[in-house]
Amino acid sequence: MAINRDYVGRTFAGGEPYEVSRVKIAEFADAIGDPSPLYRDRAAAQAAGYPDVIAPPTFAIVISMASTARVVVDPGLGVNYAMVVHGEQCFEYSRPIRAGDVVTAQSTITEIRDAGRNAVLTAATEIRTVDGEHVCTAHNTLVDRGGAA
């Protein structure tokens, strides 16, 4: 099935603000097998100069993916999620995400193109605190296998 090119430039926002908790950070750190105390121990994080425990760098995907998922599951876009693999991912950070952050994410589809038999969709997601402070911008490229027009 072909992806709907009309979605290029479309912005998806309006999700509920995401509140970053210490428990979720620790769960994520456990899942990636990283024992660093910066992700679990407030005193250790403060000793390194952070106000509270910080999140591993790729934790940003938890927030950005919830936002891009709203894009990908939009029936009008025409993506078969079981055929989707992750092509590329890049993060630009203003600072580490940390416990206590309350953030929102806004995703924009920046490009849809064909690559052989596949369709490639690129989205940029800005993560900001509810006070407007930029925390991270995530760029992700999804490959819809066999989805070329």
Partner: protein, 142 residues
């Protein structure tokens, strides 16, 4: 993360020690839950094969997380990643056995930038295949 590397310590061209990170089916189940990415190709072998994959594959973001761990371990508690990007060139195939797969990560200091920033170029392999290409992290060191 015992020591703290500083910007002045770092020499362009320096090679970082190789590290190996295990990934099992349990790792993927846990990562599904922690990340919220329940795509069936990461836990259901029947469906993974039916869509043309060799077996269940790891989340690309799991592999990227291990590469991130490699970088933060090197950067130390006061080093912060300012930019981190990868291309997923080949899937990490995770068999349903007690061993699973492993992801081997290595890195080289590509260059030193201003503002205490250092560029690392990373390599990640699994099962003899390069699983990440164009993997690069920019780290700000004390």
């Amino acid at each position: 993360m015992t020591g703290q590397v500083t910007y002045d310590d770092v020499k362009p061209g320096a090679e970082l020690a190789l590290a190996s990170y295990p990934v099992t089916r349990l790792s993927l189940v846990r990562y599904c839950g922690a990340s919220g990415d329940f795509n069936v190709i990461h836990w259901n072998e029947r469906i993974a094969r039916s869509v043309g994959l060799p077996n269940v594959i790891a989340h690309g973001m799991f592999t990227m997380a291990e590469a991130g761990r490699y970088v933060t371990d090197w950067a130390g508690p006061r080093g912060v990643i300012v930019e981190f990007g990868v291309r997923f060139s080949s899937p990490v195939v995770v068999p349903d056995d007690d061993v699973g797969a492993s992801i081997e990560v290595s890195g080289v200091v590509e260059e030193k930038l201003d503002d205490n920033r250092v560029v690392l170029v990373l390599t990640a392999r699994s099962g003899g295949e390069k699983v990440l290409t164009r993997a690069k992290a920019v780290v700000r060191l004390p």
